[in-house]
Symmetry: none
Subunit: 421 residues, 2 copies
Amino acid sequence: MTKPATAALLFTGTELLRGKQNTYTPLLAAKLLPLGLPPAAAVTLPDDRKAIAAALKNALKEHALTVVVGGLGPTFDDLSREAASDALKLPLHQHPEALRAIEERFRKLGRVMTENNKRQAYLLKGATLLENPNGTAPGQFFVRGTGAKKRALALLPGPQKEWEPMFAAVVEPLIKKHFPPCGAQYSVRMALAGIGESAAEEKIRPVLDRHPATEFTILSAPGEVRLFASGTERDPETARHLGAKISAEFRAAIGEAVYSDSGEPLPAVIGTLLRRRGWMLATAESCTGGMVSDRITAVPGSSDYFAGGVVAYANELKVKVLGVKPVTLMKHGAVSSECALEMALGARKRLEADCAVSITGIAGPGGGSAEKPVGLVYIAVSVKGRLPVCKRFNFSGSRDSIKAYSSASAFTLLYQELKSI
Amino acid sequence: MTKPATAALLFTGTELLRGKQNTYTPLLAAKLLPLGLPPAAAVTLPDDRKAIAAALKNALKEHALTVVVGGLGPTFDDLSREAASDALKLPLHQHPEALRAIEERFRKLGRVMTENNKRQAYLLKGATLLENPNGTAPGQFFVRGTGAKKRALALLPGPQKEWEPMFAAVVEPLIKKHFPPCGAQYSVRMALAGIGESAAEEKIRPVLDRHPATEFTILSAPGEVRLFASGTERDPETARHLGAKISAEFRAAIGEAVYSDSGEPLPAVIGTLLRRRGWMLATAESCTGGMVSDRITAVPGSSDYFAGGVVAYANELKVKVLGVKPVTLMKHGAVSSECALEMALGARKRLEADCAVSITGIAGPGGGSAEKPVGLVYIAVSVKGRLPVCKRFNFSGSRDSIKAYSSASAFTLLYQELKSI
């Protein structure tokens, strides 16, 4: 079996190694995956001709397609053209059409064209000129070799407003022409809650072993595990069938813990359950400090089912705003199942909702004791017409991480309650 | 002249090439620049042992320090340990202390330790174990060679909450020990609020031009701009002097907008102002949905000055819990300066605080109109004994980004009010 074709992404710009966030990899991945050329390396380099040339040489050895973004401008630190010429051992020549386009653009803008702008009209010998209607630097597309040894290099300008339209208009058609997709893609994604990364992996291990040609990824965040599977088959029918089969095998292996196979986050899935019933949700947060309502309201349209929440950090507010009984706080303390249950009930009644979730605990680093250590958290859910539930957790880690695990566990408990109705 | 020492960053994880945004390069750059090891390559690779090993070999050739983030977990796709062993031609061995720490962590969490978790206890022969108090996978630090040929490799766990504390506690001291800066380093950092990245850059441009030997970085996040300056001088006295000079020039150029030169986030700076006065703060959030209280409570010890908050998503709650007048909602709507002012006043009084901040707006994508478009946000601050203030904003972008800009602006307005007293 030949190795499947992949793409390499090269980004140039010292600023990307000095604090500026590079946001292009996910954008290019979304464009290249459907073309059957998954990115298999993303490299960010400074404006250093030797370093860029060396990385280009490496990339051209391994990957069918190499996309370089940046370094095509007119200034001294724009070196991608020269580096490509070094790597491919190909001369650059001034392209008359490219020069005319640059001159034309300057005329239109009423700006004086300086000598260094002419550098932008230099193309690799044999490369296709990619017009840039949104900037001065044109792109280039160069192809060498045939069959499994075919190599393509796309040089694109750095600004997103320039390379994105160029990619759609001219690069994508060239890629499709030179690398017609052999076969049909399938992909499966699944999100799990209430299960750890290792436990999830043990359960799906037999699925992975049964499908060695499928690409699997497992990704975990506090309280959440995500699975991805993808691959290519001869024809769309086989691909669809295999995708469905892997999806079913995942569900059989993991069962209960799967809450989504569409990539939707848990707060959105909970939103769908609430919307279906026409229910309103309320929150009562102590140690999570608003993180739960923040995540609920990250979902567009959440105002349809989210009434609101109270962050009752001070004990007086737990009494005054949520109606927790002073005797409960006195006898059991604020971090107790009794308090969590009264907070959930209070939020549901006082915020006029149909269900509510509450969280009370010790996020640390201070405030812990032998009896109630940092990381002790109680989460309660109150749903109208049903018995309330409360669960106790012992998290560890930093303040942020205890907040994040508490929030994720609140969503898991709320989801399990809503689903069980 | 010998080439100055540089660092390479390697990130592993197929998900980072399939759509997940990698945000670590700017964070690591900010840590490595002051250590005199500027990143000169950032490479993202899939969970592919051969590809990681090949990239590691390349990196170790060129760069004094190579930092690998990710791939140390227990699952099949965690391959950084094995790839490092291949690249360095060094065996792995099970480290008894690492195994004990992992077992201990599982005991504490009350979770069952599966067999695959033991993989995390394998260390490169001769490597230093880096303890991980926030997760199971320990890090490793390996050094080979001397002088200009000295090479160090740091293997760090993927989650930010694990590698960041590990870097500060043990990696930075090891780097300093093995690569003592030749000369004396100075570094200046400054955090700004209420000013955009371009405006900040224009103002500091003359400072940059006056100090060509200093390395400058400008970093922006919603509502926030950070400046870094660093460099090396012959002796500590000269370095200290130049650092102080650049710091003073920054302040002279930017003035008012500087809120911190210690790296403290704005919510922590606000906390210090509140604690100094013995004041309590309350929040009343609509469109930010809890993001403001979430960020306030991210600061350890915030219970000293944060009473709590109300997320009043539904209009009825604005009336019932915060005391906004129904006639205000009728005449001006929930997204109005009138409503914002009543929300702030209501939160301050009803949550028994000394000051309060409120946010009401349209985060989108739905809910906008010609008169009140998506991104229209009002923020008000009410401080006891003072006239309340309200500011109107027009943000653009996604729901997330409007929430983030609104939160950042709420902190800026609150800070400006508290500072002016």
